[in-house]
């Protein structure tokens, strides 16, 4: 067993163990931290497969972006130290059964399938310049169209996030802004703003006509 193999098994054991902890941890904040470790392990696996660019993107986007976003949303939505309620035994038992069955099924298929060995296994090198050239290539094997579509998708997601998370204007404030001048003029120029609950008939008629 060479060091290359030992490193692979170490990385895979690390990824699987931290992933199991991430989906079973009791406290949600610890769960997020275990997810962080699992994603770093996946990045290490990409380094092991010698695709350094994908590993760098994985670290930048997932570890630096998505997990930080999740941790912030945990801070914003609930107390980070609070315990999650345990799932009922029946649900976890059946989930475990379903997952084990699915894993056994897929394992069986993969183990039986005979992958064609690559003739004279060429070295797999991914220079970043080749990725960049093919990404912006407009010829037959270029990826410029998905690139542009993804840029539009990111723009749409950004606008959507802003619109969804924007705090709506409270209704009372908007009503006050609209009805206050009407009430003030209907009240023979007194400075006291009238409560919106009991408008006088004149302003009510005005509102009906408008």
């Amino acid at each position: 067993m060479t060091a290359y193999q030992i490193i692979f098994y170490l990385i895979s054991a690390f990824v699987l163990a931290t992933a199991v902890l991430a989906v079973t941890a009791n406290r949600i904040f610890r769960s997020a931290i275990w997810l962080l470790f699992s994603l770093v392990g996946v990045a290490a696996l990409y380094f092991w497969m010698q695709v350094e660019f994908v590993a760098a993107v994985q670290i930048i986007v997932y570890v630096g972006g998505v997990v930080v976003l999740i941790i912030f949303s945990i801070f914003l939505t609930q107390q980070s130290g609070s315990q999650l309620p345990k799932p009922p035994l029946k649900r976890s038992l059946f989930a475990l059964l379903a997952v084990l069955f699915g894993f056994a099924f897929t394992y069986n298929i993969i183990a039986r399938y005979r992958f064609a060995p690559v003739a004279a296994a060429k070295p797999f090198v991914v220079p970043v310049s080749a990725i960049g050239e093919q990404m912006l290539d407009t010829k037959q094997h270029g990826f410029v169209l998905p690139f542009e579509v993804v840029s539009m998708l990111l723009l749409a997601a950004m606008i959507g996030c802003i619109v969804i998370a924007m705090r709506p204007v409270p209704k009372e404030k908007a009503n006050q802004k609209r009805t206050a001048p009407v009430g003030a003029f209907g009240d023979n120029l007194t400075d006291l703003p009238r409560p919106a609950a009991e408008p006088d008939p004149v302003s009510m008629m005005e509102e009906k006509t408008t």
């Binding site: 992933a19 997810l35 993107v57 998505v66 914003l76 379903a98 070295p123 991914v126 959507g160």
Partner: protein, 104 residues
């Protein structure tokens, strides 16, 4: 150099996918369900890169698919978290059992 067979990497990604699926089945908190989905997307990315490395070492398509999946997953996580925060403002809870309407 490539002493690890392709099937071992596929077993790893399969196990990661089903761990994520277990989390999706058992958890009832929206944020932890999102974490489980991220795990599943990562296992798919491992598969793409492994197939590209072992079966088609002279092409780059698997790497491109991985990059695009990462971009889409980031957009999806951002939109999902915006929805969760809005839901928490209206319902004071992000548990899926108590979330009966998303309209406000």
């Amino acid at each position: 150099m490539n002493e690890i067979p392709l099937t071992h990497i596929l077993f790893l990604s399969t196990a990661l996918f089903f761990i994520g699926m277990y989390g999706l089945f058992t958890r009832r908190n929206l944020i932890t369900m999102l974490m489980a989905i991220e795990l599943m997307l990562n296992s798919v990315n491992i598969n793409f890169v492994a197939f590209n490395k072992y079966l088609y070492p002279d092409k780059l398509n698997g790497v491109f698919f991985t990059l695009f999946i990462i971009a889409v997953a980031a957009a999806e996580a951002a939109v999902a978290i915006a929805i969760f925060i809005n839901l928490y403002r209206n319902h004071r809870s992000i548990d899926v059992e108590e979330t009966e309407q998303m309209r406000y």
